[in-house]
Symmetry: C2
Subunit: 190 residues, 2 copies
Amino acid sequence: MSTSERLIESTRELLWERGYVGTSPKAILERAGAGQGSMYHHFKGKPDLALAAIRRTAEEMRATAEGVLGGPGTPYERIAAYLRRERDVLRGCPVGRLTMDPDVMADAALRAPVDETLDWLRERIAGIVEEGKAQGGFAASLESEEVAAAVVATVQGGYVLARASGSPAAFDAGVRGLLSLLSAHNTRTE
Amino acid sequence: MSTSERLIESTRELLWERGYVGTSPKAILERAGAGQGSMYHHFKGKPDLALAAIRRTAEEMRATAEGVLGGPGTPYERIAAYLRRERDVLRGCPVGRLTMDPDVMADAALRAPVDETLDWLRERIAGIVEEGKAQGGFAASLESEEVAAAVVATVQGGYVLARASGSPAAFDAGVRGLLSLLSAHNTRTE
DNA sequence: GTCTATATAAGGATAGAC
DNA sequence: GTCTATCCTTATATAGAC
């Protein structure tokens, strides 16, 4: 792996573990096994490197979500698969956590990938709910954008609960709770 | 307000805005209008001051939640009132956001109030769901702990979505989505 | 109790040698 | 491209005067 690649990957890890504010160039360099010269040769500085890292992480999250949401099954099953997908729950969401980072939110460039990814996710799920309504699986009374927001919020909030309690159980409980409520609106149970 | 009080209040504000890692003693002192001597006279250091601030914030959040959850109405109405309670959505949850702070999570003392508060909240709501089941308002098939986790997660995740999109609308959408799912399990609609 | 030094380390970046 | 040296600022804390 090239030095530039190692810098990006190390930054991705540290942003996930410690956030932007909590990540120093020094820590990145140590993890990447690179010197300062390399970092400032390949990137303009911390924000520039972080941008590359955030963009990649956002893309990855999108691809992972699409892999499940675009898979086989009824709309309900695809949403359930997304919610139940295997996760490193205690590490939190590498994208969602950035919303709590003041320096990320204050920088339009750093913030854009976060915003776009979470937005895309909600729209993607809302579209699946619409599919379900059209096929008759989901009750027509459901507001797809609202259900989608509840789904994504349950995941993002689940990370918070799990990290607070130090156990993935709270995440799983939230997911099961939401699915139990949602399944009542799903008439295609074959 | 005493100097000690001003220090705690300033710390509370900064922890909310920037988290623990992003808050420096210097910034606290400036906001409190105090000198370094005062801070190190009243508190052992940054972690000690932060602990006082976090404890107070946690107590306040609990009192606010109890004010709504312990209010009048059916179980469904009380949970709905909690979800719809007025919030400064874009600021996020002053307790929940600390779960993304590595230095808070690494310190058992700082972490305890966060853990306890979110735990209490889930249990409190689970108890209300149980009430609803006993009274016949909620379907007996609901798992109260799971529904409670979904409720709290929707709130915590709603903050994430709202901050990402820069608008409280996403929070409100998630809340409405969850309530629309939950209301179908509520037979006391008088 | 509060203030002003003072101290050590870390954050973040530049300069220039190799 | 990468390294080391150097720079200025901030983070966090201590010491001691008032």
